[in-house]
Amino acid sequence: MRYLPLTPEDRTEMLGVIGVSSVDALFADVPQAARLDGPVNLPRRATELEVERAFAAMAKKNVAASETAFFVGAGAYKHHIPASVDHLIQRSEFLTAYTPYQPEISQGTLQTLFEFQTQVARLTGMDVANASMYDGSTACAEAVLMAARVTKRSRAVLSGNLHPHYAEATRTLARYMNIDVAADAPVPGGLDDVISQIDEETACVVVQNPDVFGGIHDLRPIAEAAHAKGALLIAVFTEIVSLGLIESPGAMGADIVVGEGQSIGVGLQFGGPYVGLFACRNDKSFIRNMPGRLAGETIDADGRRGYVLTLSTREQHIRRDRATSNICTNSGLMALAFTIHMTLLGEKGLKHLAALNHERAVELADALGGVPGVTVETGAFFNEFTVKLPKNAAAVTEALIAKGVLAGVPASRLWPDGGLDDRLIIAATETNTDADIALFASALKEVL
């Protein structure tokens, strides 16, 4: 087998050195009844060519985003990623390295994480950031747990316009920690009234901006209300590109900012791996209560600058049952992709990219708003908005596939019982052409 270097002669010789007669002897501790005599009931080994053919056959049954007019968002976005990003993350030294537990031979990973942390902190308008989480939804859930630890309170208020997957992941993680999670119903054209729900028991209020319907909001009144009651504001985003154009959550008073970094460097990948971003204020109680890994600067024996994983006394491998979270693996390679793409963009590029996204979305909203029966509900938005249709949105979406349009996410996909069957959440990015937009509008007119 191509990945297994031992030859039969090697095996014989090694058994001799070990002093056993067969490999079976090394499995002597396994209960006899559980030892399989032969291979399990699965296909035998396959050549590269056979594997490629099997995968190509499955891949062809999917409609790739680049092959169609594509407007699907709601938490993951189609952006163009420079070819150099994918090249660099495939460098053997990045791709096939482990967690940097031996910092002297992991400076590539560690310095990159330090750059990543700084980029994330600056983008979110916060003081510090960690070295990545699994994704935005788990970052959100961990942020709620952290807020509970910091405030020593056990109630969380989630906005109804928080992505429902994020709300569910948070509810799941909080449930057995005895944190009470309250949430409103979603409000497609606006924002639910979270302020009225904040009380003296509230650890945090969680608001997404742009929200799951694409709407953007001024978080300052919410921050003020939360702070007045001693609660923290956790700001969530699923579209990091928005931070190139709209005010940062930090500037609007957020205490913890979490979100999804998938738009930069990562790609769609049917939902994962993505990269969770996690940033917060620089407060000792915050930093000591953060989940996830942190890269920190230090010096080596010669006094030269270097980087290490630090503050690991928060983490499970040291602190065990008193750790801030059980997280071990992060999303290092995706963080690397994010950092490389962001470095290529720079401030100038990110701002331009964000402006382009907004322009495309505005043009799309105007085009669709001109279709009889269609109402654009979202007033202020970045690159995503919600329309009210005169028909079932899921059926409309399905009908548009054959016309070469993946039209967006029907709200019923996220809230099957939410009474939002006529709502469609639509995203536009720099990858949409004028022709895509025109096609969508004309095709929509046809199917309505």
Binding site: L15, L26, P43, M58, F94, I318, M334, A380
Partner: protein
């Protein structure tokens, strides 16, 4: 050569990406335009390329040499898998596209689930956990949900061996349990008498790694399973060491109720300097109803993703919830299935055999100069303690750092905690005999050097690395977590 940070070299007016001009369309931002600058430096593409290529060369990697980190299963990462994951039909599809447009992606998940269930002989697998620890959480939450469903509110004690990974107790706590440590016996395995003594009506279950973190198979695993079940608890198995038995022993045959599978370990999805991982969790019949959403089902020719609890409940399930947005680590699923199909049932069995053979070969080659923590053969990891360094003044840490100067990544140090100055070596099946011989020669040489008093090289190690030994205490005492323009950068010796 030191590589500056992008913040020291890049410029906010420089970009390495071209865009079309803006048209000047009227914005619809509701007055929420960003007011302040971000402070993000950019680099042209050639400069960015060099920066990251040069940084990469400061890393050790499996493509450069053996990565003998015990409990991490750092094996060869086939490039075929990278190629498969990048097929546009997998890499360029959105998790919320209509399911009719992603039938191949759902089929792939279903196919991978079939392989995992077959290899473990279990009836159910939750695919969405994002990493090993996340898979543990998935397993323990299912146990908690099952106990809750039984109304067993008093069962909150989870038995965890001393030698367990730190994720085990941390996970238990996140599910509202508390941990009770089981001591190890002189053999490095669960002390059965102590275990039995700890059983009781408040026991929720046990979290056991098998093969355990001492590199040994828990011989009494069937009895442990039976006893925990009799006591009304569940058996969570930490699957970190599945590589030792894959294709040869099915955990379901051992009586487990839940086990996560690290696709990034056993099935070789590359670890990328710290992730991403993927931790699908298999369940016994008892726990299967409590598995989280989403999951895929096949209805005739059509694949379907069940995304909502309500739909699952309508099917008779009682999912404990959703752990994450979307459906899990598709990119890892693709790579893992490509790896599995490449090996096949026969190749996977060979994986287990060769990984165990390689570890025992290392143990046999080194037991004369280093001190094995336990007698006898091991599974896929060889565990040594630091008795052979006694009175040499060389610590496990020094010994590890000296390996760096010899061109090798150190083994896992100081874990498991039950062994003094532990050194846990996992070669994996993708190392050649000649490579292991060179590796063992070097360790022999180092052990002899330490014993013969040639110790200066240990204290100063590493010297043949991009940096010398780093001051981790300083980093923790005065955390510098982001770059700041004003800060005094320590660039040279003080």
């Amino acid at each position: 050569q030191a590589e500056p940070l992008i913040f020291e070299r890049g410029r906010t007016d420089l970009t390495g990406v071209d865009f079309p001009e803006l048209k000047g369309t009227k914005t619809r931002l509701g007055g929420l335009e960003r007011k302040s600058d971000i402070g993000l430096p950019g680099l042209s593409e050639p400069e960015a390329m060099r920066h990251y290529v040069r940084l990469s060369r400061k890393n050790y990697a499996i493509d450069l040499g053996i990565y003998p980190l015990g409990s991490c299963t750092m094996k060869h990462n086939p490039r075929l898998n990278e190629k498969m994951a990048r097929l546009p039909g997998f890499g360029d599809v959105h998790p919320l596209q209509p399911q009719s447009t992603v039938q191949g992606a759902l089929e792939l998940i279903g196919e991978l689930a079939h392989w995992l269930m077959t290899l473990t002989n279990t009836p159910c697998v939750a695919m969405s956990p994002k990493a090993g620890a996340h898979g543990e959480l998935c397993g323990m939450m299912a146990i908690r949900a099952a106990l809750d469903a039984r109304g067993e509110t008093g069962r909150r004690r989870v038995l965890v061996p001393e030698s367990a990974h730190g994720t085990n107790p941390a996970t238990a706590v996140q599910c509202g349990f508390h941990c009770d440590e089981i001591p190890a016996n002189a053999d490095g395995r669960v002390d059965m008498e102590a275990f039995k003594a700890k059983l009781g009506p408040d026991v929720a279950g046990i979290m056991l790694t098998n093969p355990n973190t001492c590199g040994l198979f828990e011989r009494d695993i069937r009895e442990i399973a039976d006893l925990i079940h009799e006591a009304g608890g569940y058996f969570y198995c930490d699957g970190a060491n599945f590589n030792a038995i894959v294709g040869r022993v099915r955990p379901g045959d051992l009586g487990i109720d839940a086990m996560h599978i690290n696709l990034h370990k056993t099935f070789s999805t590359p670890h990328g300097g710290g992730g991403p991982g993927s931790g699908p969790t298999v369940f016994s019949q008892a726990l299967a109803p409590f598995a989280p959403v989403p999951y895929v089902v096949q209805k005739g020719e059509t694949w379907h993703m069940v995304e909502h609890e309500a739909e699952a409940r309508a099917d008779g399930a009682e999912p404990f919830g959703r752990m994450v947005a979307f459906h899990g680590q598709m990119g890892m699923f693709t790579r893992a299935l490509s790896y599995m199909m490449s090996h096949g049932s026969d190749g996977l069995r060979q994986v287990a055999e060769d990984s165990v053979l390689n570890a025992n070969y290392v143990l046999a080659r080194l037991k004369h100069v280093m001190t094995p923590a336990f007698e006898g053969t091991c599974m896929h990891e060889a565990l040594f303690d630091d008795r052979f360094l006694k009175d040499t003044g060389v610590t496990t840490l020094d010994f590890a750092k000296a390996m760096i100067d010899e061109g090798y990544h150190p083994m896992t140090m100081y874990f498991p905690l039950v062994v003094h100055g532990a050194m846990l070596i996992e070669p994996t099946e993708t190392e050649s005999k000649s490579g292991l011989d060179r590796f063992c020669d070097v360790l022999e040489g180092l052990a002899e050097a330490a014993k013969s008093g040639d110790t200066a090289r240990f204290a100063s190690a590493p010297v043949h690395a991009p940096v010398k030994r780093l001051d981790e205490t300083r980093a923790a005492r005065n955390p510098v977590l982001v770059w700041q323009e004003s800060e005094d950068q320590p660039q040279a010796a003080e």
